[in-house]
Each structure stands twice: as structure tokens, then as C-alpha cells.
């Protein structure tokens, strides 16, 4: 398994653990009998940790590993794009997980702009993933005689 895929898949597992941790905390907090549960703001973070951090990142990691090779010289395509996607993806999701609940807890202009940065990083990461995987979605190469 290539290094790149291992990074994606291992980080996906980290997000799975974080998501379940958040889920457990939210469920447990229901027992505390708060009038307004402060952890309710984490629900959107939980969904995104699970569906983006875990599911999407795992899919991309497995796709990097198993999709048809790009060329003999560059079997996984442009690896710089793949690394850039990995960094922006996790930076964006991580920042979003911290600042999005803060919009409810401690709203400020700095927090709002941090949310915009997180959104831009996440959207940028998805476009980089498209750029990285698109050329590898292809039929079997016909060998020249």
C-alpha cells in the first residue's frame, strides 16, 4: 500500500475515533439534565467528522491505492496534488470542528472569519481530490504491440 494511501486511511480512523468520542459525549450530556445542552453545538461537527473525516477520507485513501495507475512513471498521478489535498482536507475539517461550535458559544468576527477559512480549505481540498482522481478513472490501457 503506498505511503499516501496509508496516511489517508490512518487519518480516517483518527476521525472515526474522534467522531465516536463526540457522539458518546453528546449522548452522555443528555443525562446531565441541562436546560440548553451546550454540546448540542457539536452535532454538526459529529456528522462531518463521520461522513467527511471518516467515510470520504477512507474512500479517497482506498481509491489512491486501488484505482488504475495513471502512468508507469507516475502511477498515482501528481503526488504533490494528493499531499496538498490531504493537508487542506484535514486542516479545513480540523479548524471547522473547533470554530463552528464557537459560533454558538463565543461568536466574534475572528471566529466568523476562521469559519470562512475552514470552509475555503475544505472546498479547495475537494477540488484537489477531483483533480487527483479524475485522470485515474479510466479503462484498461491497451498495450502497444
Amino acid at each position: 500500500m503506498p505511503t499516501l494511501a496509508r496516511y489517508y486511511i490512518r487519518t480516517a480512523f483518527v476521525w472515526l475515533v474522534l467522531a465516536f468520542g463526540l457522539g458518546s459525549a453528546m449522548l452522555t450530556s443528555q443525562l446531565w439534565g441541562f436546560k440548553t445542552n451546550p454540546l448540542a453545538a457539536l452535532q454538526i461537527v459529529f456528522y462531518h467528522a463521520l461522513m467527511v473525516g471518516w467515510v470520504t477520507q477512507l474512500i479517497v485513501g482506498v481509491a489512491i491505492w486501488l484505482f488504475p495507475v495513471h502512468t508507469r512513471e507516475q502511477p498515482r498521478g501528481n503526488e504533490r496534488i494528493a499531499w496538498a489535498a490531504y493537508i487542506t482536507f484535514n486542516l479545513g475539517l480540523g479548524l471547522r470542528s473547533v470554530v463552528e461550535p464557537m459560533l454558538q458559544w463565543q461568536p466574534s468576527t475572528v471566529v466568523s472569519w476562521a469559519v470562512v477559512v475552514a470552509a475555503s480549505l475544505q472546498v479547495g481540498a475537494l477540488w484537489l481530490i477531483l483533480l487527483m482522481l479524475w485522470p485515474r478513472v479510466k479503462g484498461k490501457a491497451v498495450k502497444a504491440k
Partner: protein, 143 residues
Amino acid sequence: MPKFSQISIRAALLYLVIGGSVGGILLVSKAFGVWPWIWYWRTAHIHAMLVGWLLNLIFGVAFWILPRLDANGWRGSPWLVWSASGLLHIALAVLIWASIWPWSAAIFIASGLECAAAIAMAWHCWPRLQPLIIEPILHQKLK
């Protein structure tokens, strides 16, 4: 990778970036309390990600990678998978349309189409879910 899988996976990647971009705009709207109308698009964002991205990708990869039906590599009749994919795209188009211009019947029509797509895909995949059978090719039989 067969033609159907290529088209389905590429469509899934497009849904990922389009659905994700809509999600990004929603997040900016949430941060600054601007463009309140964009929240009508929340359903479109969720469906683009869950159905458009995940289901199209699963359909494409399943058609490509599940065990073949014979030693010649026959994957079964392709019309079922093309129907499943077509139904899924129509369902998504209806849902996206309805999340922008609300239309009460949309959810019934779209869920019906999604059920039909699921049945068609399951019908195609069912006979392919089997242990690996390697049939001896003709010259080996003659030996």
C-alpha cells in the same frame, strides 16, 4: 475499468465537489448571517453528498470489482446498472430542483425513483455475489 464505472465514478466526483462547494457557501452564510435563502439548498447539499457522491461511487465500484459471471469476464446485462444510475440521477435532479423551488410532491417522486434504483442495482449485483469460480479454459480441459 468498464465504461459504466468510469461514468458513475466521475459523476460521483462531480457531485462531491458541487455538493461540497454548496456546503462551503452554507458555512459562510452561517458565519456571517448572510444570504438566508441559501439554506433552502441544505437538502440539496445533503443529497448531493449522500446519494450523489456515495451511492454513485458505490454503484461504479461495485460494477467494476464484484466477481464476474463467467471466465470471459461477463459482468451481466449492463441495462440494469444504466437504469439504476439513470433513476438515481433523475431522483437527484428532482430533489435539487425541489430544494431550490419547493415542490411538495418531489420527496415522494424522488424517494420512489431512489427505491427503484436500489432494486435495479441489487438485481444486478445479486448473482455476482458468489465465491470465485475459475472455470478451466478449453485447452486445459483437453489435456
